[in-house]
């Protein structure tokens, strides 16, 4: 019979401005594969990190093997035989596999019966045996930097097994793997279960859960939405529970009136610096007066799509045209001049020079134009007036007006400043990448209104967001991106949230 090994009781965890986990209670049994499913920011990682001692719950208790435990560090979690494979691997890249695995638990021997030293031969032998037993084929003497991602993951798993972990936590283990590698990993997970290990799998990929998990908890905005028996539940049902919620249309908007095509993307393919196709021959068109929203789970090529249209990343093939002008290989500045405004995702490192004053940040993408400088000399008065104008018009709160150092401002006001700068350029195309991430409700509403206002002005708006509420709120046309390809394009009125969820998960395809 199933015997509970981990128990969360009424766990609540708050971060400034957000409740990551809200009164979550669940029980995980020994020897099962238990999946935790949820959207980005639903609180999956936070919940499980508490089990590994990375955070402590604000309220509630954790029971391990029926005993209440205060897990205050990963070290203590390891003592309780809990292991975790993080999304980012924690390996020393110039050490061998065996050296990484034994790190902190080195087998010792006495050299000449006197001097303690690491018994690497024994370690190699033990690890070869261990990897043989669990079907994780790997050579203990290989150096980490020579291994591919899937092999590194195996090393991480062996690291847990070497420490005799009984409860194995995997944080999005398949995010970095190819389909074949995923298959192999799922097979390994299955094998580990047969050895009596308990596995906790965090993921948002439904077919993986369907393939291996026994039970699955669905988190939605920090709350436990359901605990399901995977065998008897369809993937459609899971997707619905994962994204399903009341959608509130808070932004008032008139029906869209589409004009001419502004942006045309044909067969766009973008390679990451490591040579991986992040965007795969994508086609779409955006018209004047249209909010074209791209929905999708994080890491499916959204960043690369936005950066390649804005000119920050080269396209490896395909064609981008703006108002009939081919800009496929134009520089960033040529695209600014051609009329592309871009609100990037990373507002701290990309969107702003944080140590500049507000006044100096406003003309960041226009300082060279005749309005702000002539013959290489900056017009102080133009800088000042422009800054003051944007401060007044877009209600940006800053302690010292124009002279405020941008770093000292709140995130919401920093974002307001970027949006003010880009919107004020009155360009035919404006790209919003995750415009409201981390902002409070008031700021979000304000930005949504601005997005719609831009559309009403007659701009083509490309909105890329991980937040489905935001997409439902603003979009006229919705495209769903999955694994670098656009799965579905349809008018917003024809798609339900449930449908989008299925396309986002790659369950449904055109």
């Amino acid at each position: 019979m199933s015997e509970p090994i981990v128990e969360f009781r009424h766990i609540t965890k708050r971060f400034p401005g957000i409740i990551a986990n809200d009164d979550v209670s669940l029980t995980i049994n020994k020897g099962e594969i238990f999946a935790v499913l949820g959207e980005n920011g639903a609180g999956k990682s936070t919940l499980v990190s508490m089990l590994f001692g990375m955070y402590e719950p604000d309220e509630g208790e954790i029971y391990i093997r029926g005993k209440r435990e205060r897990i205050n560090s990963p070290r203590y979690a390891t003592q309780l035989s809990i292991g975790m494979v993080h999304q980012e691997f924690r390996l020393v890249s110039n050490y061998t596999v065996a050296e990484n695995i034994i790190l902190g638990l080195e087998p010792e021997r006495k050299f000449l019966g006197l001097f303690p030293c690491v018994d690497i031969r024994k370690a190699n032998h033990d690890i070869a045996e261990l990897s043989e037993r669990y079907g994780l084929k790997i050579n203990p003497e290989d150096v980490i930097e020579d291994l591919n991602v899937a092999s590194r993951q195996k090393v991480e798993i062996l690291k847990m097994l070497y420490r005799e972990a009984e409860i194995l936590i995997f944080d999005e283990p398949t995010a970095v793997l190819t389909p074949q590698e995923i298959k192999a990993l799922l097979f390994v997970l299955d094998g580990l279960r047969d050895y009596g290990k308990t596995i906790i799998l965090i993921t948002h990929k439904l077919n993986e859960i369907k393939a291996v998990a026994d039970r699955c908890a669905i988190l939605n905005h920090g709350k436990l939405a359901a605990i399901l028996d995977v065998k008897t539940t369809s993937t459609d049902e899971m997707a619905r529970l994962m994204v399903g919620r009341e959608i509130s249309f808070t932004t008032e908007k008139t029906p869209a009136e589409f004009g001419d095509t502004v942006l045309k993307v044909e067969g766009l393919t973008v390679k990451t610096p490591s040579g991986y196709d992040a965007v795969k021959s994508v086609n779409f068109e955006i018209h004047a007066g249209e909010v074209f929203a791209v929905a999708g789970v994080s890491g499916n090529g959204q960043n690369e799509l936005a950066d390649s249209i804005a000119g920050l990343m080269p396209c490896s093939s395909g064609r981008i045209t703006l108002n009939g002008q081919d800009i496929t290989h134009a520089s960033v500045r040529e695209r600014i001049n051609a009329g592309i405004a871009y609100i990037p995702e990373d507002r701290h490192n990309v969107g702003l020079v944080l140590d500049f004053t507000l006044r100096d940040n406003f003309p960041l993408r226009q300082y060279y134009s005749p309005a702000f400088s002539s013959k290489g000399v900056i017009s102080e008065s133009a800088f000042n007036e422009h800054g003051q104008k944007l401060l007044d018009r877009y209600d940006i709160r800053s302690s010292q007006g124009n002279a405020t150092i941008t770093r000292s401002m709140s995130g919401g006001n920093q974002q307001k400043a970027i949006i003010a700068r880009e919107v004020d350029m009155q360009t035919p195309l404006i790209i919003f990448m995750q415009p409201t991430r981390g902002l409070d409700a008031g700021a979000v509403m304000n930005i949504h209104r601005q997005i719609v206002a831009e559309r009403d002005r007659g701009a083509a708006v490309l909105l890329i967001s991980l937040d489905l509420d935001e997409i439902m709120d603003c979009a006229d046309t919705i495209a769903v991106i999955y694994n670098g390809s656009i799965n579905k394009v349809a008018p917003a009125s024809e798609l339900s949230v449930d449908d989008i969820g299925l396309y986002m998960m790659g369950v449904k395809k055109e």
């Binding site: 702003l352 500049f356 300082y367």
Partner: protein
């Protein structure tokens, strides 16, 4: 304003540390510090040798300060653009030898300045190019180049250009020297640094460039956040290359005003320590060109006044380097403090 306060704090703490050491050595710190001022021509000495006065001391002081201004401007510009130019010494040597060689053919002050500017620019550009093209850390390449240049210069001097009596390079022709040596005025005999006005003008000009030109705006944006600069449509590599080239050129001006002005010859086998002191000066001046002039003034008091101090108080002259080192340490601390407060 806060930067100014932190810089002053760094100086005061350093002077207190120096005083503590002087006191532990059984010397009178107040008298020692007064000797520094006297040696720099900022306070009256008890007596002067013939044809000398406080004014002639002060002119020598200005003569020593001139290359320091250029060197600190070089460091400051590089830091604004996100580079740590620790190779000022090497760039100075390259400029010095180039100017010496050229003046042997045509002794002209204008050509000396020009040669220094260009030679420094070439070395700076090389460092910038290595960084942009191959992502070679500029600290590593500039330190290495310091040695490369020093040994090349040493080789050249020892083989072709040695003055066998002084064991230094031959002296530069008076017509090409940037300091009027032993100039007689009334009954005084003094050194007149002709490059000093150029140093002050350069500082003001650089300040204007950084604050008021699009190039200055690009330098600062690239230095503070290369990603944001790229997003802004700036040519990040070209700006970086340009910045290192100009930083090298400024170091070159420091080189000629040092080796063809303050001094008349180059000592083989030695890297001028001024290139490293300039880092302290630049940090102390808050990487601001005008601040650099003020900080140069202060640091030169310590380095120039130390000869007189050591002879009066019978202290090793290295105590001055020690105080400069304290200032560097505390100025670096205050730079971090300043950043963290934001």
């Amino acid at each position: 304003m806060k930067k100014l306060f932190l810089s002053c704090l760094a100086i005061v703490i350093s002077l207190l540390f120096g005083a503590l050491i002087l006191w532990l050595m059984g010397k009178d710190p107040v008298a020692a510090y007064m000797n520094l001022l006297q040696g720099s021509g900022l306070m009256h000495k008890v007596k002067y040798a013939g044809r000398q006065s406080m004014f002639t001391d002060f002119m020598s002081f200005i003569d020593a300060m001139t290359p320091m201004i250029f060197a600190s401007l070089s460091v400051a510009l590089a830091l604004k653009g996100g580079f740590f130019n620790i190779g000022v010494s090497g760039q100075m040597l390259a400029a010095g030898i180039a100017a010496h060689m050229l003046s042997g053919v045509i002794p002209s002050r204008v050509l000396v300045v020009l040669a220094g500017f260009l030679a420094g620019a070439v070395v700076g550009a090389l460092i910038g190019w290595l960084k942009c093209r191959f992502n070679v850390n500029e600290v590593v390449s500039s330190i290495m180049l310091n040695s490369v240049i020093m040994y090349l210069v040493t080789f050249y001097i020892n083989v072709f250009y040695i003055n066998p009596v002084s064991r230094q390079s031959k002296s530069i022709a008076d017509a090409a020297r940037l300091t009027l040596n032993g100039y007689r005025w009334e009954n005084l005999k003094m050194d007149i640094p002709l490059a000093f006005p150029l140093a002050v003008i350069t500082a003001l000009f650089l300040h204007w460039v950084l604050e008021r030109t699009t190039y200055g705006y690009e330098v600062k944006a690239t230095g503070l956040s290369p990603k944001a600069a790229y997003y802004a449509g700036m040519n990040v590599n070209r700006t970086a290359l340009m910045t290192m080239t100009l930083s090298g050129a400024l170091a070159g001006l420091a080189g000629v005003s040092y080796f063809c002005g303050y001094l008349a010859a180059i000592q083989p086998g030695v890297t001028p320590s001024m290139g490293f002191d300039a880092i302290a000066v630049s940090l102390l001046g808050g990487n601001n060109p005008v601040g650099c002039v003020l900080a140069s003034f202060l640091i030169t008091i310590i380095s120039k006044g130390t000869v007189y101090m050591s002879s009066r108080q019978h202290i090793e002259p290295e105590i001055a380097s020690l105080i400069t080192a304290f200032i560097l340490t505390f100025a670096a601390c205050s730079a971090v403090l300043d950043r963290r407060k934001k």
